[in-house]
Every structure is written in structure tokens, then in C-alpha cells.
Subunit: 211 residues, 2 copies
DNA sequence: CGGGTTGTACCGCATTTGGGGACGGGCCAC
DNA sequence: GTGGCCCGTCCCCAAATGCGGTACAACCCG
């Protein structure tokens, strides 16, 4: 088994040397690049004989943030797995990282041994996430607060579901066995209650879990 | 530390007894209910002095499937964490389980010790997922194949993004500094390319990552 | 009992949207 | 340089949608 080719991007010298010191000493790993900024990482990439398989990427970086760098990194290294490694565990940053193609998201309080485990897991086809992160990721799928609150009636929720499934008024009427006019009434009521003013907005907010 | 109150729902007698035998012997766990179907589980729930904190739920069950039972279980036990435990690792079942409020998703080939670890992790605020499952969950966030393929031009992708953000044609035109007529042309071209026929359908499919 | 909510259904009107076609400029490849 | 593709612009028409009403039966709650 060849060692896993690893790259580190971390601005804090102390943390960086700690990570490098530990990770590079592991027989399963080989650090091919250690950078203190996204710009430096991208600049040094072309010089490498062998590109990294895994990039451990900090989010808070001087200059370009890790989130901004992620798309660029995935563009240059489409087959590499990028592991976000940061103190931030807010839903928005997690969401943006995952959308940009991160393969994992570990928090900074993670012990070194677990970070190593995360690297191994990611090359093994997994998607390591710290507990709190995994929870937030799952939360993204769950029915939205407004959808499960008693703001909407049962029937109204059915209409919302049908709309969110991409149906037009007539199709909604067919699915729920209602008159088209009735569906229109429901839709209007729903718009009022949810404070939206178009179908698209409704579906969009529903998808983002902002509903 | 009180033991974690656990419930098992599993139809295969062999697997069920294996799980019960192992898990119930763990000092950290206490099985309060073992059922061979979702119906039996729901029927026996009211008899319990203490409701389970964690439910290990199989998907393939006689009668009501685990996916159908999940909403009912979450309704009766809103504070319990449900861990799906199944052989299925297809994206659709995973998606539906998570939407219905599952707190974790472990595959059937998982060693008993890891299942125990998953139970402990879930009460610790985590969201245990088998490797392949975690990958599929993350894949759900990534830009969709059709979105990143060269099917759409750069500009067209920008229009899609604007529409998905819930904007109307006029607003899209404003954001991208285009004529409304131009936006309409784009939208039509996009519909053709992506094989959809309404705004709602576009946003819907985009949200589901089916694009 | 009265009032609120829900489910159902209808009407009319202004706007948006979907579907079609047409035109010109720019860029790239053959 | 010519043909093709992407971009941006515009027009027309029919259907869908958003928005404002009205209406009534059934419920539940105080």
C-alpha cells in the first residue's frame, strides 16, 4: 500500500507545524505540500511531481478563504478529496463547503489521531464529519420548521408538497382530487401564510430548508 | 450515567436475536423494546414505562416499511433518535429516511461493535453514517451532473442559479444586467436542455440534485 | 351560541410564464 | 471564410399564475 499523498493548508504556524509534525510521521501518509495560504497552495501545485490525493484545508485563511479556494482546488485536482478543517461549525459555512465539493468536514478541536483517521476514511470512500457537523448536515434534510409547525393545515401541507414536487395547479388538483379553483385558493392562502409571492420562491425556500 | 434506552425493530429472527444478544449485554445500553415489525413496535410503545431514546429501525420489514414507519415513530417519540439499519444504500432511500427525520444510517454489514458505537454517537449528538452513506449524503449537495457538465454554458448556469434562488424573470434580468427578453430566451433554452417544462420543475429537480 | 379555522368552489383581471420564431455580433474551428 | 455555437436582443400568442373578491358547509373552541 503506497502512502497517501497529503497536502496541508493552514495559516497558524503553530497548528500547521503540529499537524505536519504528527501527520508526516505516520507511515500511511506523506505530506507533499504544506502551505500557509490558499494562494501559496495553488501556486505551488504545478511544481509537484505527484499531486496530493487529500487536501486538509483550513477555512479561515489570510487572503482567499478556504471556501473560496475550494472550487479552484477541485478544478485543478478533480480527483482529490478536500477535507475542511476549521473551528467554524455554522450551518452556512458547512453548506457552502459541501456544495463546493468538500469530502469531509472536521472541526479544529479534533484530536490528531482522529484527523489521521479522517484522512484514511476519506480515501476509503467515506466522508468524515465531526459529530456536530454531521448533525447539521442531516438537519438540512429535515422538514422545515414552518412546514412542521401548525401554521399550515394538513391539507395545505399536501398542496405545498405537490408544488414542491414540481407540479402545476392542474396536476396538483389531479393528485389531490380537487378542483383547480380550489387548488388556486389553497395556493393563495399558503403564499400569505408563508410570506412568499411566487411558486418559485416557495420551492426555493423549501429546498433551502428556510421554510 | 444511566443506560441508554434502546428499541430494536428487525424482522429477521436471526439478525434480531444477534443484535439483542449483543446490544442488551452492553452495560451502557438497555433494550426496552424488541419488535419484528413496525406495527408491533408502535402497538407496544404505549405499554412502556420508559420510552426508548434510540430506535434501531430496519427498512425492509413485513407490512409497513421502516421508511413509512419513521414519520409515525418521530410523531410519537419526537425526542428519540432513529437509526436506520439496513442493507439498502441507494440514494433515494437514504434521502427519504433523512427527510423523515432519521438521525443516522448504518448498513447491515456493520460489525456489532460499530453499531453499538453508532448508538452511543447518536445520543452524543452525532449522526453516525456508514462510509458509503455519508458519501451519498454529501453527493447530494454537490453541483449536479447536468449543472457542471458542459451541457449548459456559463451564462446559462448563472441564469439557473438565479431562478433557483427564487427570482422572477425581471429580477433575474436585474441581477445579471440583461434584458428581460433575453432572460426569457435563456430560460427557454435551459428548459430544452434540461428537459423540464416549468420553473417549478427546474427548482425542484435542482433541489433534489437530479439535475 | 358566535366566531374562528378549514375545506371546497367559483369569478375576474393583470401579470408572468412557456413556446415559437427571428436577427446580429462575436468567437472558434474546420 | 464559412459554418456553427454562444450570447444578447426582440416580438407574438396562449396558457399558467398571482391577487382580489365571494360563498357555503363543517367543524372546533370558548
Amino acid at each position: 500500500m503506497n502512502p497517501i499523498l497529503l497536502a496541508l493548508v493552514e495559516d497558524d504556524p503553530e497548528v500547521r507545524e503540529l499537524l505536519r509534525g504528527y501527520l508526516c510521521r505516520q507511515p500511511e501518509l506523506r505530506c507533499v505540500l504544506v502551505a500557509d495560504s490558499a494562494e501559496a497552495f495553488l501556486a505551488e501545485l504545478p511544481d509537484l511531481v505527484q499531486p496530493p490525493q487529500v487536501v486538509l484545508l483550513d477555512i479561515h485563511l489570510p487572503g482567499m478563504s478556504g471556501l473560496d479556494a475550494l472550487p479552484l482546488i477541485k478544478q485543478r485536482l478533480p480527483d482529490a478529496d478536500v477535507l475542511m478543517q476549521t473551528v467554524f461549525d455554522d450551518a452556512d459555512r458547512i453548506y457552502r463547503a459541501l456544495c463546493a465539493g468538500a469530502s469531509g468536514y472536521v472541526l479544529k478541536n479534533t484530536p490528531l489521531a482522529d484527523i489521521k483517521a479522517a484522512v484514511l476514511e476519506v480515501v476509503g470512500g467515506g466522508a468524515p464529519m465531526s459529530r456536530a457537523v454531521a448533525r447539521k448536515v442531516l438537519a438540512h434534510f429535515k422538514p422545515s420548521p414552518a412546514m412542521q409547525s401548525d401554521l399550515l393545515s394538513e391539507r395545505e401541507r399536501e398542496v405545498v408538497q405537490a408544488i414542491v414536487d414540481g407540479l402545476g395547479d392542474k396536476q396538483v388538483a389531479a393528485r389531490l382530487d380537487l378542483s383547480v379553483e380550489t387548488v388556486r385558493t389553497y395556493v393563495k392562502r399558503i403564499y400569505r401564510k408563508l410570506q412568499v409571492s411566487s411558486r418559485t420562491e416557495l420551492v426555493s425556500r423549501h429546498a433551502r430548508g428556510q421554510l
